[in-house]
Amino acid sequence: MKVRYLIKFSKESEIKFVGHLDLMRTIQRMMKRSGLPVAYSQGFNPHINLSLAQPLAVGIYSSGDYFDAPLEEDVPELKVKEALNQSAPPGIRIFEVVKIKEEDDHQKVFKSMAVIDAAKYTIRIRYKNTDLLNEEMKALFEMKEWNIVKKSKRQEKEVDIRTMIKDIEYKVVEKILVIEAVVSCGSRENLSPELIAQFVKIHTTNWDSEAFTDIKRQEMYAALENKLIPLYKFVKMR
C-alpha cells in the first residue's frame, strides 16, 4: 500500500538561484539516496510522483516549503525525516514529515498545492539613503489601492495587490527596508512577493538599483475556520 508524506523543507539561501525543475530533480535524487522505499509511477517512464506545493521563483529561498511524495510502505515519520536529512544536499534541510491521511469517503489523492491559501515572505530592499523612507512608506500605507501592472506571458493588466495582502509590516534596519507580508498563495489566488517589491520601489526613492532584492519564504498556510494554519499542522488537524 502506498503512503503519501507531506514534507516541509528549506531551500537555503546558497541555492536560491536554482530553478524549479532543477530543485525537483535535486529532491528526487535526495529521495533515491535516502534508501527509503520510494514509490515509482507505472508506465514506460517510471518516476517519483513528487509534487511541490508552490514553485519558488529563481532567486527566492525558503524556510517553509513543501513537497509531497509517496512511499511503498508505511515508514514512521521520524525515520523518514532522519533518512532525508542524511541524504539531503547542503542546500536543503527537512523540518517536518507528516503522513497524509487519505480521505475515507472519496479516493481523492491529497495534493498540498490544492489546499494552500497563503504564504509569508520577508523582503529586503537595500537603499542608498533612507532619510525619506519612513515618510514614503507611511504615504504608501495610506493608499487604499495598491495598483500595479502585472505582466504575464499573455497579457499585461493592472491589479490591486492590496486585496491579496493579508498582513504586512515593515521596518528599516540600517539601510535595508525589511517587509514582512502574508499574502495570497496557491492556485486560487497568488501574489508574487516580487510584485510587492516592485510596487514599493515605484513608490519610494533612493533604493539601490545595483542591489539584489532578497526575498525569503517563511511559511505556507491553509485556511481552517478563517484561520491560517501552517501546512504541516493543517494536515494533522484535517
Binding site: 539516496r33 534508501g35 539584489f212
Partner: protein, 615 residues
C-alpha cells in the same frame, strides 16, 4: 576569499555555475593541508562537470590528506565581464580563493579550441599567461589530456605537461613538489622533468630549417630526457575510481553516473587519435564495475548509468554487465545507457533490450560514403552492417536514425561524397521495405558531416587538410545528391576546423599566435556565438605565421614532427605502414583478431587485453 554577492549572481545566466557547494564537493581546512591544487577545465561549468578525467583526479588528489583539490571552470562572458568590473579574480569553486593562492593549476586539454580560454582564465586570476613571465609566487601550471600529445603550441604557457594517464603520475608530481618546496620553481621543474611521462618545455630547444620544418629538437641540459614516454595504468582492474561524484544542482551535459569499462580501442581507425594514444586495451571486470556502480548510486542518487569507453560493444563481458545492472536495480528504476554504438546487429539488439522507450534516435557513424574510402580510413564497417543494423532498428520501433560522416578525408573523391547521399538513401529504402504495420511512422534520417582534421599520432598525421573552399564545393555536391525528403542534412562549414588543424599539428611558433589572439579577445572559440575568425587571422598575420603551412602541407615521413619526442607506445614505423596501406585502400584487421604489431605491447609495460574475459 572572494565574496560573490547576490548582486552579481542575480545578473548572470545560470548562477549555480559559480557558487559551488554541491553535494559531495570536497572542502578541507586550509590549515591542515600543504598543497592546494586547482583542477581547471577551460570551458563552461556544465561541460567541464561532465568530464570523467576531472572526477577521477579530483578524487585521487582529495584522497591525500596533504592536498586539497578544487574545481575551476571558464566563466561565461557575462560573468567574466562582471568579474573584471568588480576586480574579482578567478577562484576555486570550493574555497572561493583566487587561483593565485594555489600551488598547482592543472588544465585538461580536451580540444584545441579551448586554448584561448586557458589564457583568459590565467589572466582572470591575475597570473601572467606566459610561463617565462611568471614569478616564483605564481602557481605551477600543468597540462594533460589528449591534446597534450602535441604540447608545442602551448610551450610557453605551461610549466609542465603530463603525457598519458594521470592517476599515478599526479601523485608522484605532488610528492616531489612537497619534498622540494622552498627550493624554487626552477629546481622543482628540473627535478620533475625526470619523472616518467613529464615534459618540461622550458628545458628543451628547437631549431628550424629555412623551409620552416624542424631541424633539431633537444634538451638544453645534460640529464634531461631526450624522449618523453606516455604513462599508463597497468593494473587497470584495480585502479582507483571515485565512489562519489559531485552532484550539481543544475543540469549538466552528462548528468549521470559514468562507469569506465575499458581503456583503449582495437579497431585501428586511421583518422582516430584516441584509437592510437589510449592503447593498449585494458578492461575492468564486470563485478568491479557493478560494485562501483552500487557505491555511486548510493552516493549520488542518479537514475542512470552510462557505460563509457571508446566502443562499448567491444567490452568482452558486455551482456553480463548490462543485464546484471538492469536486474539488480529493476526496482529502483535505474537506466543504463550505451553512448558509443557499433554498427552491427548485435549492438542494436542490445540497445533494444535496455531501452524500453524509443525516445531518441539511434546514431551510427559510417564516417565515409563508399567501401573504398572506409577501407582507406580502416573503418571496419560494411554497407551490409549498416543496412542490417537500421533494418533491425526499424523493426524494433525506431524511426529516427542519425548518420555521421566526415568530409575532407585523405584520398576522397566526388564519388565518395555522392556515396554519402547514396548510403542515406539506402537507409530510407530499407525503411520502406518493412511492412507498414511493422514499422513506426515518421521516418527521419538525420545526416550530418564534420570536417576532417588530421591529428598527431595517427596514420594521417602527414596528410594535408582539405582547403576551406573545397569543403564548400563538397558540401554543395552532397546537398544536391540528396533526393529523399526524409533525409535532413546538417553540416558545419566553419574555419574552426582550419584552426583546429593548425593547432593540432602546430609547433612552438603558434604560441605567439595564441597569445595575440587572446589579447584580441579570443575566448570560447568552440562556441559559434563567440568564435571570431578575424581575430585569429590577424594574430597569425601579426606573428608572421602561415596557417596553411600547418593545415594544408603534406609532410614527408622523414620530417621531424613537433611531437616526435613523445613515445605513445605505438611505433612510428607502424603509423607509416598504416599510412601506406591507406594509400592503397587496404584494411588492417581489428587487433582482437590477431596482433597487428603496432608495438604498444613491446614498448610499454602494459599487456594487451589485460582484464578481458575473452578477446
Amino acid at each position: 576569499m572572494n565574496r560573490i554577492s547576490d548582486d552579481i549572481l542575480s545578473k548572470v545566466e545560470k548562477p549555480s555555475r559559480y557558487t559551488g557547494g554541491e553535494l559531495n564537493s570536497c572542502t578541507k581546512d586550509k590549515e591542515s593541508i600543504q598543497i592546494r591544487y586547482a583542477f581547471c577545465f577551460p570551458d563552461v561549468y556544465e561541460v567541464g562537470m561532465s568530464h570523467l578525467g576531472m572526477k577521477i583526479l579530483y578524487y585521487v588528489l582529495n584522497k591525500r590528506e596533504d592536498t586539497w583539490c578544487e574545481r575551476v571552470f571558464a566563466p561565461w562572458p557575462d560573468m567574466e565581464k562582471l568579474m573584471r568590473e568588480k576586480n574579482i579574480q578567478l577562484y576555486g569553486l570550493e574555497s572561493k580563493d583566487s587561483l593565485k593562492e594555489f600551488d598547482f593549476l592543472g588544465f585538461t586539454l580536451q580540444y584545441e579550441m579551448s586554448y584561448s580560454n586557458i589564457l583568459n582564465m590565467l589572466d582572470l586570476a591575475g597570473i601572467p599567461v606566459r610561463a617565462s613571465k611568471r614569478s616564483e609566487d605564481d602557481p605551477v601550471v600543468m597540462f594533460g589530456g589528449p591534446c597534450a600529445y602535441n604540447p608545442e603550441p602551448l610551450y610557453d604557457i605551461a610549466d609542465l605537461f603530463v603525457m598519458g594517464e594521470g592517476e599515478d603520475v599526479i601523485n608522484e608530481i605532488v610528492d616531489l613538489y612537497k619534498e622540494v618546496k622552498g627550493k624554487g620553481k626552477a629546481y622543482f621543474l628540473r627535478k620533475v622533468s625526470a619523472v616518467a611521462g613529464v615534459y618540461v618545455p622550458s628545458l628543451y630547444e628547437v631549431e628550424y630549417r629555412d623551409d620552416g620544418t624542424i631541424e633539431k629538437f633537444y634538451p638544453k641540459e645534460e640529464g634531461v630526457p631526450k624522449k618523453v614516454k606516455k604513462r599508463i595504468i597497468t593494473d587497470f582492474n584495480n585502479s582507483v575510481y571515485p565512489d562519489k561524484f559531485v552532484v550539481p544542482y543544475n543540469e549538466i551535459v552528462h548528468d549521470r553516473i559514468v562507469m569506465e569499462t575499458f581503456r583503449g580501442c582495437t579497431r585501428g581507425c586511421r583518422f582516430c587519435q584516441a584509437g592510437m594514444v589510449y592503447r593498449p586495451v585494458r578492461e575492468k571486470h564486470a563485478d568491479r564495475l557493478i560494485a562501483d556502480a552500487e557505491k555511486l548510486l548510493k552516493s549520488t542518487g542518479y537514475e542512470e548509468i552510462s557505460l563509457s569507453s571508446l566502443s562499448i560493444c567491444d567490452y568482452s563481458d558486455i551482456q553480463n554487465l548490462v543485464f546484471s545492472i538492469m536486474e539488480k536495480y529493476e526496482k529502483e528504476k535505474v537506466g543504463v545507457s550505451l553512448p558509443s554504438l557499433r554498427i552491427d546487429s548485435f549492438s542494436v539488439e542490445l540497445i533494444k533490450q535496455i531501452q524500453k522507450v524509443r525516445k531518441t534516435g539511434l546514431t551510427f557513424a559510417p564516417e565515409a560514403g563508399t567501401q573504398r574510402l572506409r577501407d582507406v580510413i580502416n573503418k571496419g564497417v560494411t554497407e551490409k552492417n549498416l543496412i542490417d543494423s537500421v533494418s533491425s532498428a526499424f523493426k524494433s520501433g525506431w524511426s529516427t536514425i542519425k548518420l555521421y560522416f566526415m568530409i575532407g578525408l585523405p584520398y576522397e573523391t566526388e564519388e565518395d561524397i555522392m556515396g554519402i547521399a547514396d548510403l542515406a538513401q539506402k537507409v530510407v529504402d530499407e525503411y520502406y521495405k518493412i511492412p507498414k504495420e511493422d514499422r513506426k511512422k515518421g521516418l527521419k534520417v538525420n545526416l550530418s558531416t564534420s570536417i576532417f582534421v588530421p591529428k598527431p599520432f595517427t596514420p594521417f598525421q602527414w596528410e594535408p587538410q582539405i582547403r576551406m573552399e573545397d569543403i564548400s564545393d563538397k558540401i554543395k555536391v552532397l546537398r544536391s545528391s540528396i533526393k529523399s525528403r526524409q533525409i535532413f542534412y546538417s553540416w558545419h562549414e566553419t574555419p574552426v576546423s582550419y584552426l583546429e588543424a593548425v593547432f593540432a599539428r602546430g609547433d612552438r611558433r603558434l604560441c605567439d599566435v595564441l597569445v595575440k589572439a587572446f589579447e584580441k579577445g579570443a575566448k570560447f572559440d568552440g562556441w559559434t556565438e563567440h568564435f571570431k575568425f578575424d581575430s585569429w587571422k590577424e594574430a597569425l598575420e601579426e606573428s608572421g605565421v602561415e596557417g596553411d603551412f600547418y593545415a594544408y602541407r603534406k609532410r614527408e615521413y622523414e620530417e621531424i614532427l613537433p611531437w616526435d619526442f613523445i613515445e605513445i607506445g605505438v611505433d612510428k614505423r607502424y603509423l607509416i605502414s598504416e599510412s601506406e596501406k591507406a594509400k592503397n585502400a587496404v584494411a588492417t584487421q581489428d587487433c582482437r583478431l590477431g596482433c597487428t604489431n603496432c608495438g604498444v605491447n613491446v614498448n610499454l609495460e602494459g599487456k594487451c587485453f589485460e582484464g578481458a574475459v575473452s578477446n
